[in-house]
């Protein structure tokens, strides 16, 4: 999204670039920054993915072999599909959790308290991502908060094992980690809805539920779409959470990419896997934007 915005800005600036435009001058430092830190490594990874590893050396002959391995071997297919499945689950869970929060914040908090509430929503960011993941380990673990409570209450005799080190734990941890990122865009979209539209809907005969589906939700869609993309895209590539709470069946494609670059010492295959995941995620994101395009047209 950032890249697309940047690209647009550059394009627009180029059209008027007969005379040096102040816009172009203004964006040149971030543009250079983006070029060096974003474009250059990607070009490097793309090149790497078409080479091959010969023990410790990189063979610089052009080959599709890495992509063939990445797309045909069972283990990579399984991990790729699992990553996407987990990311979809995380996205759905996060957006379903975030929407009521954003709705409550936008519609039921008096104006003068909204700033305070927004501030409270950012509190989870005060602790590091890693600390939050470890907290979930403490909550879900064998001797953790949930098991401890349930055992003490006599509801279970033995600690539950199925709540940690699996995909469900990954989904839970990530949905919690992403929640504020999803709340904010949805909140902004809800705030932008002209309240007289909601009154008009009731005036024309809709009850609260039908009004929600005919007016509130369609008008909040830009925020929902933004939230989905913000959560979905990085989740597919997450490898820390699956590593810490996922157990063997919770590992995802990014863990495999890490393995290729480190233990397996096959950088080209790692690069091909990374680019394949990127292409897949990019395609899915574009398809999603295309499918929801009718809600994204900005009304004037």
């Amino acid at each position: 999204m950032v890249q697309a915005g940047l690209f647009h800005m550059i394009l627009r600036s180029c059209r008027r670039a007969v005379a040096p435009s102040p816009g172009l001058v203004l964006i040149s430092p971030p543009f250079l920054y983006a070029l060096i830190l974003l474009a250059a490594p990607i070009v490097g990874v793309v090149m790497l993915s078409f080479w091959s590893q010969d023990f410790l050396e990189i063979q610089r002959d052009f080959t599709f072999a890495n992509y063939q391995t990445a797309w045909t071997e069972r283990v990579y297919q399984v991990l790729m599909l699992r990553s996407i499945k987990v990311a979809l689950l995380v996205t759905v869970a996060t957006v379903l959790l975030a929407f009521p929060m954003a709705y409550f914040l936008s519609f039921h908090i008096p104006k003068r308290r909204k700033q305070l509430w927004l501030f409270l929503i950012t509190i989870p960011f005060w602790t590091s991502y890693l600390v939050r993941i470890f907290l979930w380990k403490v909550i879900l673990g064998y001797n953790g908060v949930i098991n401890g409570t349930l055992t003490t209450l006599g509801i279970i005799d033995e600690p539950l094992r199925f709540i940690l080190y699996n995909q469900a734990a990954v989904v839970m941890t990530l949905s919690h980690a992403w929640a504020p990122f999803a709340v904010l865009p949805i909140y902004v979209a809800l705030e932008k809805i002209d309240r007289s539209l909601l009154e008009a809907s009731v005036d024309l005969g809709d009850g609260p539920l039908r009004r929600f589906f005919r007016i509130t939700l369609p008008l909040a869609m830009p925020g929902v779409v933004a939230a989905v993309l913000i959560v979905f895209i990085p989740t597919v590539g997450d490898y820390i959470t699956p590593n810490l709470v996922g157990g063997p069946n919770g590992l995802m494609i990014a863990n495999m990419i890490e393995v290729q670059f480190k233990k397996a010492n096959n950088d080209p295959l790692g690069a091909a896997l990374a680019l394949s995941a990127m292409a897949l995620v990019g395609t899915m994101a574009l398809l999603f934007i295309w499918a929801t395009r009718k809600y994204l047209r900005s009304p004037s």
Binding site: D194, S196, D203, L204, G205, R214, P299
Partner: protein, 312 residues
Amino acid sequence: MNNDPIIRINRVRKSFGPVCAVSEVTLDIAPGEFFTLVGPSGCGKTTLLRMLAGFETPDGGSIRIDGTSMIGVPANKRPTNMVFQNYAVFPHMSVADNIAYGLRAARVAKGEIIGRVEEALAMVGLAGYGARSPAALSGGQRQRVALARALVLRPKVLLLDEPMSALDKKLREQMQVELRTLQRTVGVTFVLVTHDQEEALILSDRIAVMFEGRIAQVATPHDLYQRPQSREVADFIGVMNFLSAHATVSTPDGMTVEIEGLGQVTIPRSQAPANLGDDPVVGIRPEMLTILQDGTHAAGRSARGSLVDLQY
């Protein structure tokens, strides 16, 4: 048409915290009437209208519409529809979908919806605009969509909150004429809120003037202009010169008063309320004054003066 009022407002009150927006308003509105609430900003017009629509709950008093008490009836179950100040046209729907909105809410059959939407579009002069997006419409056209969207539901009462305030002067005058014609054609009771006294005088069958949450006078435009019942109303509607006077003789035909600096003037009974006391205030509309040549004056109806300045 029977003569029972379509709207009966009885001693309605509404406060927002310490602010008393509407206090003890009692008002009857007849079916088919074009009724206007006019008054300065903040006098409670919108609040009263929103209580009719069901968006505000009165603190006390009763509202009956078409013989049914509206206490506890939510806005979506009332026989009223509203045209909002900013029109509140749904931006994510076409013009036709906007107009069909209420019909769909009422689960009218699909085939019937199409016909009624066409009819409503034609009524407001937007035939052929159904597929357009509201973003592609001008302010005046959006207002027509809002009107069509409300009227297509055949409400008993149409409520309009300052519908003209977002339009430029020229368009406003044109829409005023159209609104009046439309109201006569459909025969629906219109309750209009405006702070523009000129608009109120042009459009209405009857006008209620509000000040600080109270109704100061309810009258036809003619009576309101010719016989305002208080100085406040006289001051708000049109331009009026105020002169202090002494009552001298009161006869069944009229009242002779001594106006400071102008001498004696006789006012016909119809223009002078009874029990005015000894020191009434006399109001004169500027257009009622005629400048005459010296010496041609009629006794008791004119006064001497000198012309100081002349503007067109």
